[in-house]
């Protein structure tokens, strides 16, 4: 009798712990990107020719840091930013409100350059005809038209070699120009301030173009020498645009161009739809299984159903405990667990029926049923577990979640379908002195 107290103690303990771990489920279960909506982006570094593997990896590391700063500035909760291989960066932004914007900000190279505008009429004409002189370049000033759409308006001839780049920026913040438009104020570090002072001092009366990613943002006239290392970018920005520009300038330029090779945007409505449908499918599936088991095995079916419920409880408890991510295929994995969980019990019950037909006593039949079914149960669970494991380790995105719930479900199944049901059956048979088993 004492051993039963211990066994029941273990079972009740497990129930308690799991319940504590996952209740309330809406807070404790971590939802994957597909369920809560958000953005998943994979960026790949654009490789220049004859560049070493090692330096690609270094570039990617630097890019990752810069992207992390940009995302932090965006204020996304629980972003996931990681490097994959040498040249890829994976970014998960759950619950982001404006995904397109976020992707734009992340992917912007943000190479800021200050270049002198060349006023030479003949050179400019020559350049317009497609004959750009050595050491110069023709870039366009991008301005907004009346409808708020950016258009390349005015071409300007610039000295190719920048006077100064964004790498000297220590801070960038939004301010307002005289006409009330937001602008972006830059603060340069000591070295940058020195260079800037020199450049402005030498070129009074000329125009200095502020070029971001190859596009001229503005080209103000240098009126005087600027000694304190402060510059302003104006350009009829909206508040939003000015803020974004400040963010990317603050975080610095990316060391290389990054291409978006995979982008997945899940709207919040789709995530909710997934949860509803996944939950519905699991629930209906489970109900059919539960009813079928009672119908087919009577009291023993009830027992298997109890084990099934416990199986799901443990599965959810462990998921919450290890902070596993629940995805839509993960919910399918839970549903599938409902169907597979009773398999072990079916094997056992069928064997018990067989032993009873062979004329054994209830207790002996039950013992033999569990004992003889064990090898088949373990073999079949392990093969399924192998697949679950592999999908968890090598699977991509939501599929990982499927491997996770499937694996946990199967491990929990060995405990619930065998240990728990055996304990209860033994206890009932001994306590009630049952002489005939109906199964």
């Amino acid at each position: 009798m004492k051993t039963y107290y211990i066994k029941f103690g273990v079972i009740i303990g497990v129930i308690g712990v799991c319940f504590y771990l996952f209740y309330p489920p809406t807070q404790k279960l971590k939802k994957g990107l597909d369920l809560q909506g958000g953005v998943h982006v994979v960026l790949e570094l654009e490789k220049e020719e004859n560049i070493e593997e090692k330096s690609i990896s270094d570039l990617a590391d630097r890019a990752l840091e810069i992207i992390r700063n940009r995302i932090d500035a965006l204020g996304v909760t629980e972003p996931l930013i990681q490097k994959e291989g040498t040249d890829r960066i994976i970014i998960d932004l759950p619950g982001v409100k404006n995904p397109e914007k976020a992707i734009e900000i992340i992917g912007k190279t943000a190479l800021l350059e200050f270049k002198l505008v060349i006023d030479d009429e003949s050179l400019f004409k020559q350049a317009l005809n497609g004959n750009i002189p050595e050491g110069y370049e023709l870039l366009y000033l991008k301005e907004k038209d009346e409808r708020g759409i950016y258009r390349e308006t005015q071409p300007l001839l610039l000295k190719k070699e920048p006077e100064l780049t964004g790498k000297y920026i220590v801070d960038a913040y939004v301010g307002y120009d005289r006409t009330g438009f937001p602008d972006v104020n830059l603060v340069l570090d000591k070295e940058g301030a020195k260079i800037f002072e020199e450049v402005t001092g030498k070129n009074i009366g000329k125009r200095l173009a502020i070029v971001l990613d190859g596009v001229i943002k503005s080209a103000p006239m240098i009126k005087e020498r600027i000694p304190e290392g402060k510059a302003v970018i104006t350009g009829k920005f909206t508040m939003e645009e000015a803020r974004e520009l400040a963010i990317i300038l603050r975080s610095g330029a990316l060391p290389a161009k990054l291409n978006i090779i995979y982008q997945e945007v899940v709207g919040p409505t789709l995530g909710k739809e997934y949860i509803q449908k996944g939950f519905k499918a699991s629930l209906y599936g489970a109900i059919i299984v539960v009813i079928f088991m009672i119908f087919y095995y009577l009291h023993f079916g009830l027992l298997a159903d109890f084990a099934l419920a416990l199986n799901i409880l443990i599965l959810l408890g462990i998921m919450a405990g290890i902070k596993g991510v629940l995805t839509l295929p993960g919910i399918a994995g839970i549903a599938l667990t409902c169907g597979m969980a009773v398999d072990a019990n079916v094997l056992i019950f069928e064997r018990i029926r067989e032993e009873l037909r062979g004329g054994k006593s209830p207790k002996a039949s039950v013992d033999a049923g569990y004992y003889r079914a064990w090898t088949a149960i373990i073999d079949s669970n392990i093969t399924t577990l192998i697949t679950g494991f592999v999908l968890f380790i090598f699977g991509e995105g939501p599929i990982k979640g499927f491997g996770l719930t499937l694996s946990i479900g199967i491990i929990a199944n060995l405990f619930t379908a065998v240990y728990v049901t055996k304990t209860i059956v033994d206890w009932i048979i001994i306590n009630r002195k049952i002489e005939r088993l109906r199964i």
């Binding site: 978006i260 299984v289 079949s380």
Partner: protein
Amino acid sequence: MELIKNTNFDFLGKRKFFYVFSISIIIIGLIFMTIKGEKNFGVDFVGGDLLNIEFNQKTDIVNLRNTIGETKIKGSFTVQELGTESKKFIIRLPQNTSNIVLKKLEEKFGNNFIVKGKSIISPSMSISLRKKSIKAFLIGLIGILIYLTIRFEFKFAVGATVAIFHDILIVISILVLSGKQIDGLVIASLLTIAGYSVNDTVVIFDRIRENLRKTRSTDYISIFNKSINETLSRTILTVLTTIFVVLSIFFFGGETLHTFSFCLLIGFIFGTYSSIFIASAIVIDWVKKSSSRIKL
């Protein structure tokens, strides 16, 4: 209640017929697959854009298709309707065309629709996704094969292995024949099928092992048949409970899980079929040919 009791079918007697039946489906499927080429694969395996949109009013799919056609984007696109209300659609587009198409849709339908989901998959990403899926699949499969070889005699392991390949090939064939596309989730389902449908085979082999130990007879066909009959009820019941759930996912789980659950359904059914008609049959034929005794 007992549905299946004291059966005595000669499962192995007609094994030639089942060999032919299975091989025919597989061959037809593979021929179809070769003809269709890249169209067999979903966007995550070949690259492209995917839009999931919902209109707030009934929208004609032909109208939608024509509107997209007006953009004159290069390459083929497909529009698939979700549900029955003519409101939800999934649009598969060639790479980097989703913005052009969305602009066109805005021109035509204004604010009458929302973009619920959007994926853009470049060719280089699709190649690595494909590689990863195949790698996962092969590692999983090898794991199962090693386990079976350890647990059973070599001939049995081979029988179970052939049954697994059979199940996977049948699923792929039926998938292709029904015009569905192979994507990452399908590969995951194939691996799940490999892991799960071997269960029935294991249960039958387990019983064969038990029965062989009880007797000195070498009438393997009748021992095998007896074992299959004795375990028939549990073989069918276990897969039945799982199929209940798979059907529920298929009908209520939504579009994302549709092809996934379709594969599981076909795979589990044929997994049970192959456990009964293929796996043991192969062991029998091998034993007969080599005229050796089975040692377990």
